[in-house]
Amino acid sequence: MSRSDVLLDVQGLKTHFGTDDGVVRAVDGVDLSLARGRTTCLVGESGCGKSITARSILQLVDPPGRITAGHVWWHGDPDAAEPADLAALDPRGERMRAMRGADISMIFQEPMAAISPMYTVGEQLVEAIQLHLPLSRRDATDKAVRLLGRVGIPRPEQRMHAYSFQLSGGMCQRVMIAMALACEPSLLIADEPTTALDVTTQARILDLLAELQADTGMAMLFITHDLGVVAEIADDVAVMYLGQVVEEGSVTDVFDHPRHPYTQALIASVPRLGSRGGRTSRLAAIEGIVPHPLLRPAGCSFHPRCHAPVGDACQELPPELHAVDGGPAARCHWYDDAVRPEGRTLPVIPVAPTIAVTPPAPVPREEAAPVLEVRDLTVHYPVKRGLLNRTVGHVRAVDGVSLTIAPGETLGLVGESGCGKTTLGRAVVRALAPTSGQIRYHDDKGTVDLAALPDSALRAYRGQVRMIFQDPFSALNPRMTLLQLLAEPFRNPALRRDRIGSETEQRVADMLVRVGLRPEYMRRYPHAFSGGQRQRVNIARALITRPRLVVADEAVSALDVSVRAQILNLLADLRDEYDLTYLFISHDLSVVEHLCDRVAVMYLGRIVETTTTDRLFDTPRHPYTEALLSAVPVADPHRRGDRAAQLPDELPDPAAPPPGCAFHTRCPHVQAERCGTEVPQLRGIAPDHDVACHHAEALELRGVRNPISSPS
């Protein structure tokens, strides 16, 4: 990159936080160049200092954080002969303030929280415009309406008067983007802008950003931990680990030939859409977790987790950034001629090691009775309004769902947020009472309908059907030790014994070992553990009663990529070891593809398609499935742009679903005939393949592998 292309040049940036426990070196010598008009992705696990780097550029780090060294050279001012050092400006001064929003804008991870709920989005947008542009209120309002239209908000004049809490997350992010682009900045910093959004919404926001960038020619610094998003949007990639950039290069270089062991491991740990997991493959998880910045290892900070350390140098010498073959650069001793042993090169990471012994295939479903049969299950929530709080309607969270799960099978349940998949999962474990329908559970003693059982009779089944929750932080009572948490199901409330017997203790210890935690930890409290470790505790708590069926509700969604790979491997191992049956709820299709045998797709409280994983991903027969599949960003920059039409608009109101097929308002294949009038029933179109679409046989839909799937 030549000098004139550089827009922002970060040199040796250090941002440190003085805490009572010591100085946290969150950003510790970052070098980063951003080119005009290009998108640079900053990747890494959480806790690596990506966000702090971005905030340091605009001096937005909250106290006690402080930039202690380094420069942020801004080349964006065409009138200035010399670049300006943003790191040297007063964070509260007028020059810094004038830069923010005008030359460099920023958008954030949680769009709802990033907009004040006290003013309409229009007021805030007009304010953002008037901060930097000398426009009258009327002109600014006109501009604001145009901007809202530009970022794809339908009916912008009306939306000007909406508050943030009246809009969906995707709409809020569009508003944020409109505010950020109001003054046509040269650089947009996007800090995980799509992480909190649905996969379909994410795809549309990414498209929008790419489109706006092409229009305005601005540069973008895009922070994400999702390698799929990186492959989708980046021109250049910088990988961060513990406050330093460890590798940088163009997106194709980094994905095709990752140089740094960390980058290699990150890429290997992502389940890729289209690379079928099946029961034999495991993900190449990086060992361990990102250490706390206070406990930074000496030498190369990555060496304790590295799959191929060079030697003693890794533990002693901090590596420099070495250019490899002229192009990309990696901060690794393997590329230091002074350190590397003669004639050796970095061994390639053993990608996705497969298990040698073939585990038992799931029992064919015809032979075994299903573990669970859900029949016409509905869960309705009343909507109350008016003077007397009368029920005026129902939100049909689950609206007539039927599904079966065979023993030993893993059934994936996917759909956008708000489609009712979590409600369905909770109804199955009877955490909530269904409105109608049956949940028939089969075991050696016969069949019971869990939906009809009173709470007192449910106790016998609470140990057999268990749940793993999404949020590892709030799912564990912070006032109970691991021992108490895990022993809870065995305590007899009638005896009121607070002592836990040695037998139970042994069981807890065994379970902890099984999920990869040390049994010594059992007297500690949850706050002493990281997110991944807590999710292991969650899993241990679900499995300690030796259940037959486990409902995992977004069990890996809150975890970092490398930890997610560890937990996915663990879930797969435990499934084989304990002969478990999973109902695996997730919005992440690549994870579902990796783990599940069969998949059910939910839309607005109904199942629209259910079949085997292979068939669903290769030959989807419902337009909604196709749209979901095409929205998943694939961690491969060469497959960019290879996707079907995006879904328009947001999810309809589940209290007033559209007539006919609920999906017809967003369906790219909608036809005049029947779609808007007749509700499609779930019907078999092939062996073990049910679809709720009138035109399933006639449509040409794209799967993940073969470009077009048409009926055979």
């Binding site: 605009l58 509260r92 990033a114 004040s116 006290m118 309409t120 930097h132 009246q166 109350k384 003077l387």
Partner: protein, 331 residues
Amino acid sequence: MLTFVARRVALMIPTLVLISIVTFTIIQLPPGDFLTTYVTNLSAQGEQVDPAEVAALRARYGLDEPLPAQYLTWIWGIVSDGDFGRSFEWNRPVAEMISDRLPLTIVFMAATVVFTWIIAFPIGLYSAIRQYSITDYVATTIGFLGLAIPNFLLALALMWMGLNVFGQDSVGGLFSPEYRDAAWNLGKVLDLAGHLWVPMVVLGTAGTAGLIRILRANLLDELRKPYVTAARARGMPERRLLLRYPMRVALNPFVSTIGWVLPVLIGGEVIVSSVLSLETTGPLLLSSLQSQDMYLAGSIILLVSVMTVIGTLISDLLLAWLDPRIRHGMA
């Protein structure tokens, strides 16, 4: 919005009915009634009481009727023609006695709430922005002192200071002797203001201290919200950012104070007004309770409850007006 107001007003009615029943019951709970207290007092002074006369009085005041009947008579009088009953002790209509004192009480309460706001707002704001600065510590310390010192002690200390340090010739009361029975004029208003500050400070300190803490905590929470960073990243000047964004949200407790400070003030007012001998409803309530003057006591408690319920309604409506999340959250 209109349905909301209508529903809130409709809900006030059962609340008030319940309050009046509970009030009436509690007043009747101690053994005996006004007449037994009256007779005991007379006997203690050595006077003979004619049992026949007592029985006649008992019949006249309806004291032998069952409690529900007494309650119904009383509440019907209030609802039908504003008759709150007669005070046994003063032998005057309760309505008359209360109307003497209620306006001053309301002025006193309102002044105290406003005083609380004026003091608490800037201090809370400052100690949140400059968290852990010297000023924050000083404000915090004073705030805790204000919370910890009993009101009556502060009242006594201020009265002593008024007498000995400022040389005021009269402390206590709301008026100087020369204005006490005078008609309203500018002098009387000024005199009132001159006397009002002592009870205002006394009664306001605890509330101020509490409010400072709440504002500080709320504002600290808000300052860490993403929308503050986002607004800063848009290039919003700090002062404007602070006042327009987090401050708006942190204002909510101020408005809510009308609801929760009133009962506290009323409780504190009884003691403070007695110590400072103010002509408000507080001392009247105390003496009526002591002498089991049930209609007087019941009426004061009822009126004060009504004021509190109305205050809560007003603060809820203000909140809805201030905060769109509440306004749009209600159907």
